[in-house]
């Protein structure tokens, strides 16, 4: 718990968001909306939930890795100089996370893999009698992938109490709002029927997210629906599909930083 206490004072959602905007602008790349969407979840996880020596985190929605990088930098896991290489030639920090980074067990980027990988880790930990929980952060659009459901069934059947999925429920996918593509508004009932314990939280309330993630299971794996906004914190990005893709121009950058001060 000491690690959490030390980390918490240096990790704030506003500074992570400012860092995301800075790096996106400098590198001239997109996926900003996704990174802003998961920022508060990561702040809760890394400041007050995850015990790095025994817990495992899998960012299944790898395209939001910039948020994770910015958290890593603020916690001292990577240097600011390293963060400044984001998306540069030869950098370890690409759009999607690489398993050679500290605290990154699995490289992700192709949707629908992270939950099965994390389930394997949780299953193995339980077999070996090892402590620790496995946290898998998935996107709502990722639920379209069939392999996610294979893992839901497996983890539910095997009652993997050491597994916790966090759904970044921002309601938006690459081309349209999720409820227009595949309506998953009853996802909670779906996973509950497969043996999961379901909880729901405002994904931008760090204290509430912390409480929900600190809650351990009374049996089955945990499924936390974190209601979020893609682009959270920057008014012109919130709920805008285009910010899944677009980089920032100078004016937009200035406005975003003003709003995040």
């Amino acid at each position: 718990m000491t690690a959490h206490a030390e980390a918490s004072h240096s990790l704030s959602a506003v500074s992570v968001r400012r860092s995301i905007i800075d790096q996106s602008k400098r590198a001239h790349v997109g996926h900003i909306g996704s990174a802003l969407s998961i920022t508060d979840i990561l702040v809760a996880l890394f400041s007050r939930v995850i015990a790095p020596e025994q817990d495992v985190f899998v960012l299944s929605k790898g395209h939001a890795a910039l948020a994770h990088y910015c958290v890593m930098e603020q916690m001292g896991a990577i240097t600011h100089e390293t963060l400044d290489t984001y998306c540069a030639d030869g950098s370890q920090l690409g759009v999607h996370p690489d398993h050679t980074l500290p605290g990154v067990r699995f490289s992700t980027g192709s949707l629908g893999h992270g939950l099965s990988l994390g389930t394997g880790v949780a299953f193995a930990k339980r077999m070996a009698g090892k402590p620790g929980r496995v946290f898998v952060l998935i996107s709502d659009a990722e639920l379209n992938e069939g392999s996610v459901w294979e893992a839901f069934m497996f983890a539910g059947h095997h009652r993997l109490a050491n597994l916790c999925v966090i759904l970044d429920n921002n309601g938006q996918q690459a081309l349209a709002p999720t409820n227009e593509v595949i309506d998953l508004s009853r996802i909670g009932a779906s996973v509950t029927s497969l043996g999961w314990e379901c909880d729901r939280v405002n994904g931008h309330d760090v204290d509430a997210v912390t409480r929900v993630l600190q809650t351990t299971s009374s049996g089955g794996p945990r499924f936390v629906i974190a209601d979020t906004l893609a682009g959270k914190g920057v008014s012109f990005m919130e709920r805008q599909v285009k910010w899944h893709y677009l980089p920032l121009d100078d004016e937009q950058y200035a406005q975003a930083m003003r709003e995040l001060s």
Binding site: S116, A122, F123, F154
Partner: protein
């Protein structure tokens, strides 16, 4: 061959607690010895091959050595991206155990014929590919290599096979050769029986051939091939697999890479899509992958009988 696999793995798992056997709901009357001896390390993950391969990567990242069992087509293809982005990318000791390479599931039809599995696995860097010729090779390969750090693809026949000429030899990255002659027959493990019988019949007519059994496909036995083929008049490859990407391609690459001038004839599955089904023997014969077909190919390449 699959029963030998299970027998050897069951024994290895007694001494090594890292060994885990996963199946995607296949292996009735095959996997019971392992399941009975190691119930805490045997898991039917359900009919979900994609999840099985990611699950295995996750388990391997915690120190286990998971063997993932299914029919070769499903095992090699349904979770291919999971294997690539999981075990291959993270260099984890996941083993795909594909049962029934080639036409082993004969009348089950196209969906059950593994005709491109080796090609798919060969293009993934760092994956060991083992296609044993008989039960003794299965046993040797497993005992010597089950704990290697890299991912592996094992292509196993369904039924028991025994080729005494091989004496159970299996070496990682090498060919196992039998006999000598001007013409080399390089056979995928599953075709060793056909190749060895063709060799015997040709020898009775005074035609001498060397059979090189390629059971260790990746890493490719390139040096052995270069040494073998440097002095041969011709080389015939035979595989129950498409001629693209498998053993024939592997030998062609070795010949090109070493600048050899040997003539190469590749024999593989040439059936068009949608061809009628039948027994393994029937399907092999139709593709010229039986003893008579191979003997005819040897004659075609123009060797003069003694």
């Amino acid at each position: 061959m699959r029963k030998q696999f299970v027998a050897t793995l069951t024994e290895l798992a007694i001494a090594d607690e890292r060994v885990v056997l996963l199946t995607a709901d296949l292996g009735f009357m095959v996997l019971e010895p392992f399941a009975g001896r190691h119930p805490d390390r045997f898991f039917n993950v359900g009919v979900a091959e994609a999840n099985m391969l990611s699950l295995a990567a996750g388990m391997a990242s915690e120190g286990y050595i998971p063997f993932c069992y299914s029919i070769a087509t499903f095992a090699s293809m349904r979770g291919y991206e999971q294997f690539r982005n999981g075990a291959v990318l993270h260099e984890l000791p996941v083993r795909i155990v594909g049962i029934g390479g080639g036409f082993a599931y004969g009348s089950a039809g196209f969906t059950h014929h593994a005709l491109e599995d080796i090609a798919l696995m060969r293009v993934q860097p760092g994956v060991g590919i083992v296609a044993p010729a008989d039960d003794a090779q299965v046993d040797r390969a497993l005992r010597d290599h089950y704990a290697r750090p890299e991912p592996m693809y094992l292509r196993l026949a369904k039924e028991t096979e025994s080729h005494p000429e091989l004496e159970g030899r299996f070496r990682w990255g090498h060919l196992e050769t039998i006999g000598d002659g001007d013409i080399a027959i390089v056979a995928l493990g599953s075709m060793a029986g056909v190749a060895l019988e063709a060799r015997r019949r040709l020898l009775a007519e005074g035609v001498r051939t060397v059979v090189a059994v390629a059971a260790s496909i990746a890493p490719a036995p390139s040096e052995d091939l270069a040494a073998l083929l440097a002095t041969k008049r011709a080389c015939i490859t035979i595989e129950d697999h498409r001629p693209i990407g498998g053993l024939g391609s592997l030998v062609a690459e070795a010949i090109a890479d070493h600048g050899l001038g040997v003539r190469l004839v590749r024999r593989g599955v040439i059936d068009p899509i949608g061809e009628t089904s039948g027994s393994e023997a029937f399907l092999r014969r139709r593709n010229g992958l039986d003893v008579e077909g191979l003997i005819a190919t040897v004659r075609e390449v123009g060797l003069v009988p003694a």
